[in-house]
């Protein structure tokens, strides 16, 4: 990848939660690169660490019990406008480590350079403030506009996300909006400061399928118009398929696979990815075939299994999988997978593409 084209690089991120029952390793040694002007999809079940990773990037992990215990989150320094904090040399030249910033500096990043769209717009909007006030707040706080200027821009943003009669709706309260409309407001709010990165955490999970389609179309449309990168978090492989350029599959706090969107769906390189695809019915399937579930349930992160975290549920698990954790190996152009089946001495497995 072109070194100048990197917007954010997460390197060895480790986030733990210290609870009375023990230490929960929610994210372990996570490494991920987000190129400029791209959409990265993160897929995983509940408890896979996908949300915790993004909360760590935003430095929104509640401490205690949570703590970011290692790693770096490198972000394009030129975009942040923090020339004095940039790395002078090395592979991360021109990047700023978000984890090293003071709390005040981080406040200048949040909302301005990295914005978030949350899952439940009902909970994330303040019920006693008007939509207009909530939309203009971040622009005024970041000093991007005066109150009047921010109001004008907010009206434009509402129009952009497809809210009819935006001038009138600015004075309404969140309860006067429907679920889909509120999610549109959340998107307008996230984009109001033209951030370089938008993190959408399950943006359509609480919405109906028809409204979900509206929101996904809107995000695609806005992506083409505005020059922001998007990280979209979902538990649903099919949502990510239509919008992402690159997909990361997470399980038990780790990346199990990372690939270009076409590669991932055509030649998945991890049994878990294969399992996820086989366990959902396809609307365009010709015959009614029996689903192939992944047996068992996700591991308890307080006492995760030794070796590969997926081994207890994996059909192809070998002895080594229960002893050692496989490394994330490159199996193709921009395609990485954490599985011993890619090892040259591993047996060939039907239905699984081994990439050298």
């Amino acid at each position: 990848m072109d070194e100048n084209n990197v917007l954010m690089r997460i390197q060895g991120l480790t986030t733990n939660f210290h609870t009375y029952a023990g230490v929960v390793h929610a994210v372990d040694d996570m490494t991920l690169t987000v190129p400029k002007d791209s959409v990265v999809g993160i897929v995983g079940e509940s408890g896979s660490g996908k949300s915790v990773t993004m909360m760590s990037v935003m430095r929104l992990i509640p401490n205690p019990p949570g703590r970011i215990e290692g790693g770096h989150v490198w972000f394009d320094g030129a975009a942040l406008g923090m020339p004095d904090r940039m790395e002078k040399d090395g592979p991360n030249k021109g990047m700023v480590d978000l984890l090293s910033l003071s709390a005040e500096s981080m406040m200048k990043v949040r909302g301005r350079h990295i914005a978030m769209i949350f899952q439940d717009p009902m909970v994330s909007l303040n019920p006693v403030l008007t939509i207009g006030l909530q939309l203009t707040e971040s622009m005024v706080v970041h000093g991007l506009a005066t109150k009047e200027g921010a109001w004008k821009r907010a009206v434009d943003m509402l129009a952009l996300v497809g809210i009819p009669k935006p001038e009138e709706r600015m004075r309404d309260y969140p309860h006067q909006y429907s679920g889909g409309m509120r999610q549109r407001v959340m998107i307008a709010m996230a984009l109001s400061c033209s951030p370089e990165l938008v993190i959408a955490d399950e943006p359509t999970t609480s919405l109906d399928v028809t409204v979900q389609a509206q929101i996904l179309e809107l995000m695609k449309e806005l992506k083409a118009k505005l020059k922001s990168s998007i990280i979209i978090i979902s538990h649903d492989l099919s949502i990510v398929a239509g919008i992402a350029d690159k997909v990361v599959v997470m399980y038990a706090g780790r990346i199990l696979e990372e690939a270009d969107v076409y590669d991932l769906y055509e030649k998945p390189g991890h049994p878990y990815t294969v399992g996820l695809m086989k366990s959902v019915p396809r609307l365009d399937a010709e015959n009614r075939e029996r689903l192939v579930p992944i047996e068992g349930s996700p591991p308890d992160l307080l006492a995760p299994p030794v070796g590969c975290k997926f081994a207890p549920r994996c059909k192809y698990a070998m002895n080594i999988c229960r002893e050692q954790e496989p490394p994330l190996v490159t199996v193709g152009q921009g395609h990485r997978a954490r599985c011993f089946l890619h090892h040259p001495t591993a047996p060939a497995v039907p239905g699984f593409v081994k990439v050298e």
């Binding site: 028809t210 239509g242 086989k278 959902v280 396809r282 609307l283 689903l291 992944i294």
Partner: protein, 324 residues
């Protein structure tokens, strides 16, 4: 086909306050408005639609959790709406429900054993020892360890809790099960486990399902026939394999095209019909065809005349002036 359940002109209206919680002005919310359908023995019928279309209300009225405003529900030649409380109680044991949220539908203070045993307790079936044995058998049937009878719901994962809920619904040897979004609260990798189990149970126990869900891909997978609801009315009914290929109602077409397909190449080429706006309020639905406000092919006639359900052959019915 042997009809097990017949719903005719079912209506369920709820009284709501218009203009805030203290307003005196009452209005009726037409959650289900003149719905008729039949379910054959051993069949799985899917009930789909958006939030607020009345699908859960239909299910709850069938098992007797709501009293219908009008219409009849005939189960095995008995009109459920005309039964006395005592007679209804007896029939109810054959009509069971699986609830959506396994975190809310199990009493956290009861052990798994007593949760599954409770229905048999209420109907005074067998001796205590026999009931215990039956609980063990039921837990085995749904793939749980019979040793776990003394555990509490919080000790189980979401998928396991849903299995407990299913074991409870099977306790009375029911014939008909209303499954109200039984998998939507579960993780993707667990959903397939539960769906496969429901299919196996149907095979082994000869169950009939009314499967309520908003996930069209899953409904298509599990159901023999699909009923599409919009604002309390049926807009289309067809065999599930045909409805995907030849949907006739514009709403069904839009619903189907909104479902994402896990294949980037397919997604790239798909032409998506994106519906404008949201579901109108069921307190004050649009005149004529309820769907006309969001319909891409609406004409003046749609505002004037409500379309009747028309038979398009081989059990395919549709309510649209322009279908076919």
């Amino acid at each position: 086909m042997d009809t097990i359940l017949k719903v005719e002109h079912l209506k369920k209206y709820f009284a709501v306050n218009v203009g805030g919680p203290f307003a005196r002005h009452k209005a009726s919310l037409k959650a289900v408005d003149d719905v008729s359908f039949e379910v054959g023995r051993g069949e799985t019928v899917g009930l789909v639609g958006e939030t607020g279309c009345g699908k859960t209300t239909v299910g709850r009225t069938i098992v007797g959790l709501y009293a219908p405003t009008a219409g009849t529900i005939t189960y095995c030649d008995e009109n459920l709406c005309a039964l006395t409380r005592e007679a209804m109680r007896k029939v109810r044991s054959k009509l069971q429900m699986i609830f959506q949220d396994p975190y809310a539908s199990l009493n956290p203070r009861m052990t798994v054993g007593s949760i599954v045993e409770e229905p048999m307790d209420i109907f005074s079936i067998g001796t205590m020892a026999e009931r215990r044995e039956r609980v063990q058998e039921l837990l085995r049937t749904v793939g749980l360890d019979p040793e776990h009878t003394n555990r509490f719901p919080h000790e189980f994962s979401g998928g396991q809790r849903q299995r407990i809920g299913i074991a409870r619904s099977l306790a009375m040897n029911p014939e008909f099960i209303v499954a109200d979004e039984p998998i939507s609260a579960l993780d993707v990798s667990i959903q397939a486990q539960i769906v496969n189990m429901l299919e196996d149970l149907q095979q082994n126990l000869g169950l009939t399902y009314l499967f309520i869900a908003h996930d069209l891909a899953m409904v298509k997978h599990i159901s023999d026939r699909v009923i599409v609801l919009y604002l309390g009315k049926i807009v289309e009914v067809d065999e599930s394999k045909d409805i995907y290929k030849h949907p006739l109602h514009p709403y069904t077409k839009a619903l189907l095209s909104a479902v994402p397909i896990p294949d980037p190449r397919v997604e790239m080429q798909r032409q998506r019909i994106v519906l404008k706006g949201d579901l109108p309020s069921p307190v004050n639905p649009p005149s004529g065809c309820h769907f006309r406000t969001r319909c891409p092919i609406a004409q003046p006639i749609c505002a004037e005349k409500q379309p009747e359900l028309r038979d398009m052959g081989s059990g395919h019915v549709v309510a649209c002036h322009f279908a076919g």
